[in-house]
Amino acid sequence: MSNLQRLLNWLLYGAALLAILPVLPFVALWVQLFLGAGLIVGLLRSRMEWSQRSSRLAVLVTSGAVVVSGLQLTMTDVALPLVQVLCILLAARLASEKTPRNMLQSFVLALTLLAASSLLTLDMIYLAYLALMILMLSAGLVLLSFVDVDPAIRLSDQAFKGLTFFLLAIPLTTLVLMAAFFFILPRTPTPLWNIVGQERTAAAGMSDQVRPGSFSDLASTGDIAFRAETAELPAQLLYWRGIVLDQIDGQIWRRSNRHPDEQFRTEGGAGHELVIFAEPKSDPYLVTLDRSERLQGVSHRPESDGVFVRQRQDYKRTSYRAVGWPQGVASLNGSADFYLNVPATLSSQVRQAAAFIKAETLGFAERIAALENFFLEQRLSYSAEDLPRTESPVATFLFDSRRGYCEHFASAFAVMLRLMDVPTRLVGGYLGGTYNRFGKFYLVTEDRAHVWVEALNDQGEWVRIDPSRLAVNADQAFSAAVAERSYLQSVTDALFHSWTRRVLNYDVQQQFQLLRESSARLARLRQLNFSRLTGVVMFLSLACAVTLVWRRYWGTKDKGLLHSYLRQVARCAGLKRLPPALGLYQLATLSGHPLCQEFAESYGPVLYGGKELDPAQRKRLRDVVHQLKKERFVIEVALPQSLGDNGRSE
């Protein structure tokens, strides 16, 4: 086996592995075993006796496996059966004889399988797989063309080194062109693979109900809920609004179907532009900064209470733009009686406490302050573990266990406010987020899900209140609730976000935006300072001219060496320059110096015979030139310009 063929085999197996790795977690066990068997048989084939009977058996088994996979194809599940068929075909081809035709088919199958894997998963690592696949495929095809012409072909070490340039240059140039084409080729509004892509299993999203007391433990998950590209904001403004829950049935807070007449006024400075990248989830509510308006980029229905409902649920990553007005004010027009309803089964203890506070206070601000004092006096602690399951969660929370998480705090606060004739509702969403300075976005995970309260003040304006901050351990609970992400995690997040933003979500709208930005930049270029531009152009022209002249006269090391030698000899002879028509051998004879003789003998074949100097010769000639610096001799030469006649140099 020639060195080329050996390398080709390694490239083939490398490409196959790159294709198999992304799909391995998804395919069935028997397909995984089939792939393993194909790889092993391929590696050991040269040592095995392979009869025609064995070939027929292999074809039969492969055909059977393809049929079994194909039968799993349905209208809703196309991707996985297709990928499994490709895996089986690749395994069969790897196990077959390594003829050029079979190897070409193996490469094509590997590439197709990697492309098909994007139907199952499209993480950022896919980019690395793709780049490596392009590298291996290009190198493999180049080597395959040699082996196809002559299987026994061998290349010398030097020829192989030169070939390595092509093996690297072709894939690297291809990748650069692919990146350029990615931005400019026309795109569809929806990614094409969504047509055959699998329905994702949605992660648990924000709930559309609040049921304090139903769970004894709230499990925290570090799954990412969304990323929000925006400038860094003060922590107290980082409330992300998702859903409004305005109706309480017994213990459960729900969203009613009402459409209250609300008006939102943008006040308090400029809005904050956001781009939200939401992970797939099951609920239809689009999370934005509390409060936002003007969502763009996703089909939605804006509700009057600041909630945005997605109109088409596709369980895919979504991105949309919004403008957040955290200082904005929402006011309710019309009756607020709906927001005063409380469950009939509410504990008398809670009613008494609320009645007592109501009696002592007048006005919205006083009641809020009094209720907050009450919460503080109750010394409630924030906890998500080992909570009692009860039929009276508010009473248990306020007077018995005095432990709970945001749902308990918000629910209790809202109920008591309602008892105190303050219209109140719950708002569900997220609190805070980790700001990633590399990517300039907030990373919000599911364990930052939060519930707070909105109360209607005397002016009919909704005011945000977060009762969870009244916990005795609020500082500790909110700072330790989520572990900060490490430096490496932050960098990885930023890379992944870039991948999602610039590759996965790159659609026709972003293409047009890129076009608009390019046009704007081009328009700005026209306003350049022309004198400065002229200076730059002149400088570049001068640089080009100098480069061309240098290349002509000293373009190679050897030419430079010759010029150094001639300059040095002229200096030794006390001349400004030597006559141009003086040849090397003639010069050596005229000077009579052994160093000149040596130079002529070594360099003459290069100059007149087209030979090349080897590194040792070049080094020796440089030494000769260096030694000439100390020499002085006389050359009998005709110099009409410098001496005026056939004189003698001194």
């Binding site: 040699f146 196809d148 012409v149 030169g162």
Partner: protein
Amino acid sequence: MAVTGLCGHRNLHRLELCLLPSADLFAATPGTLRLRITNRQRYIPVYLFEIRIADHKVVVPAIAACSSEVVDIALTMPKRGKQQAPMIHVSSCFPVNFFVRSYQYCPPRTLLVYPRPLASPLPVHQNSRRSASDLQIAVPGGDGDLRSIEDYRPGDPPRAIHWKLSARHDNLKTKQLNRQAAVTTMIDLQQFDGPLEERLGRCTYLVNRCFHQHCAVGLVLGAKRFSPAVGRTQQLRLLKELALYE
């Protein structure tokens, strides 16, 4: 596709072919044509190209930048005489065998093709008088007839000294003999029967045989007569006459 297409296009760029003197070519007989292929590109080697003449091809794996390689390619010329060098087809499937670039090179040279040698014995009839004089080969030797007497020079072999003559003179004299060569052969085209091409073929065979046996050979072609001589020059001279004979 774009990148590999560009690489393929550049691969045959600045590739120079040159015919070199090669082995003798005989009509309807497999021979070889020697080519020097030079890569004039300054930095980039040339890979995986094929030189084809009719049904014969040679694959060259690589030629480094500013380098040459000499290849011999099989060739069969159908007829004798001065023939235009055949078209040379250069092609390359580099880098990935999707595109095959090629071009044709027509060397601006003519090839001298000798007649096809046909095995033949020497004709029996020989003019003895002419043979005797034709056996004279003016080449110094040690086993032929006396050619001249000269003064002894340091280095002459002792057995070359003519003792009898030396005794009559004050200095030593040496004998200069001709070379006793093998039978000198004079080939006459008219001595053979058959069509012209066959006769020329027999003559060609005999000329080659005599050359390999270091025999002096001469040729009579109609009115032309070529004295016997030995050596490669004589062989080529005679073969050329046979090739161009009409």
